[in-house]
Amino acid sequence: MLTAKVGMNNEEIYRSYADELTRYATGLVGPFDATDVVTDGCLKAFNAKSWPDVTNRRAYLYRAVFSVAQDHHRSTLSRRLREMKTAKPEAVLPQYVDIDVLRAIDRLSLQQRAAVVLTYWNDLPLEEVADRMGISTGAVKSHLARARKRLQEWLR
């Protein structure tokens, strides 16, 4: 995995993290809007007054992406799923869409999605998940526990 180095400009930093941020955003809002969320989140971060002083830029970008997902796309995935449900029968879903997975994820709050994605996709330790989410390890545990509860059907 690429890591941004001191002295990199924004474009270089972006290229270092764009792929993982896009995957993270996919976990938060689904595949349809992930690129928009990454674009907005990175712009938000790059334009923040505090950006030049940020030391952990990866964590900052993760939180910026989360923040944008939270602000503007809270119900986007649900809406997309509803649209799919009401679409004409002849409408064919893109091949890459795994509707069962999206329905399962849609049951989770944004925080729960973030906690699940960071924990199980990246295999990150609790502390690192907490750092990228900007919350305590206790809060991460709480989100994971609630997520498991909401995913009971999936886990059965």
């Binding site: 474009e11 995913l151 999936w154």
Partner: protein
């Protein structure tokens, strides 16, 4: 947790990640600004999107108060005059004539939102927390709901906002505001759909509960057409809230819990009139309706003024100061206060920090 569940969750995320699209291209800069590298607008009055704003915008005075220069589009961006849509739930108000500047793939900034923060009570010399309005630039597409944006800053899920010194949000971590929508049949009322955690109140006692409610109510009613708030949890009215089990099943407004606030509160962000002079507006319930204002620079009082509110000595009134001095800098503090009828000591003091741009960046509340 059993290993089987771990495996299934891993499988779930792997399948989710398999749907991930290609990363978008590097976002080129989008500039909607009047100076420097800032990429945000600075007029808090765009928040209100009221009739006056419509008229003023239409005749081409886009930045009245904080910024005397018109926005300048950056090179390589596409500037188009389009309608900005301000929504609150299902109601849509269109403001014609506002110019937005975009480049491919970029989403312009929506405008400024008003957040009501609570002043730490020890600053007032007397007790209850005061509310102070702060303008903050909102990030998002033109249809960003500024009211919801502001409310969610008060209840930042796991991302604390960086409040100015001496201020805080009484809305505790874990409370979520899912939506803000206009009530059916009551166009002046906004329904706030809250998470279940809202029912627990502030977690800091009855005064904290009242402060939390006042913050939410004032922030939710920042749009001039909205003056009532209804709270719902799981689609049900809230009948028991916080420490004392307050019944919030009916509509509440800015007056409902007003007596639980400091007796001086600042209801509009500090703004500058067309002459560049500061204007401070609020509500008070002070002795003989007298309200004093001081500008304090580095500990010394450089300016004093007083005014009479529309009511006092037991009733709430409105007050407004139009200062005839521009003697403000980013280190200035504006003190708004009353004096004790008994001994002339300061009472109900509200200490307002000054932002050179008139707005506060609450979006960068990240810690590293």
């Amino acid at each position: 947790m059993n290993p089987g569940d771990e495996k299934k969750l891993k499988d779930l995320t792997d399948r989710l990640m398999a749907m991930s699209p290609e990363p978008p291209p590097f976002p080129e800069e989008t500039v909607v600004t009047s100076s420097g590298n800032q990429t945000r607008r600075t007029s808090p009055f765009l928040v209100f999107a009221g009739a006056a704003a419509v008229v003023l915008l239409a005749i081409g005075i886009p930045f009245l108060f904080f910024d005397n220069e018109p926005p300048v589009a950056a090179p390589d961006t596409t500037t188009s005059t389009t309608s900005t849509v301000t929504t609150l739930g299902e109601t849509t108000t269109t403001i014609p004539g506002e110019t937005t500047t975009t480049s491919d793939g970029q989403i312009p900034i929506a405008g400024d939102a008003i957040v009501y923060l609570a002043q730490s009570p020890e600053n007032s010399f007397t007790g209850n927390p005061a509310l102070v309005a702060f303008a903050t630039p909102a990030f998002g597409p033109p249809d960003t709901d500024l009211t919801l944006y502001a409310l969610q800053l008060l209840a930042p899920v796991d991302v604390p906002i960086s409040a100015p010194d001496g201020f805080f949000s009484a809305v505790p971590e874990g409370v979520e505001i899912y939506s803000a929508r206009i009530a059916e049949g009551a166009p002046n009322a906004v329904i706030l759909e809250m998470s279940e955690t809202f029912l627990d109140g502030s977690g800091t006692g009855l005064l904290g509960d009242f402060t939390m409610l006042n913050q939410l109510i004032y922030t939710a009613t920042q749009h001039p057409d909205i003056d009532e708030v209804q709270f719902i949890v799981n689609n049900q009215p809230v009948t028991e809230f916080g420490t004392e089990g307050l019944d919030l099943s009916g509509s509440v407004n800015r007056e409902t819990f007003r007596d639980e606030l400091n007796l001086i509160n600042i209801t509009q962000p500090v703004m500058f009139n067309s002459d560049g002079l500061p204007v401070v507006e609020g509500i008070s319930n002070t002795f003989e309706a007298t309200v004093f204002l001081q500008i304090v620079n580095n500990g010394s009082i450089d300016y004093t003024d007083f005014t009479t509110a529309t009511c006092g000595s037991g009733c709430w009134g409105d007050f407004s100061f139009s200062l005839d001095t521009p003697a403000l800098n980013e280190d200035s503090l504006i003190w708004v206060l009353s004096e004790s009828a008994e001994d002339g000591q300061p009472q109900f003091v509200v200490v307002i920090p000054v932002s050179p741009t008139g707005t506060w960046d609450f979006s960068g509340g990240f810690t590293n």
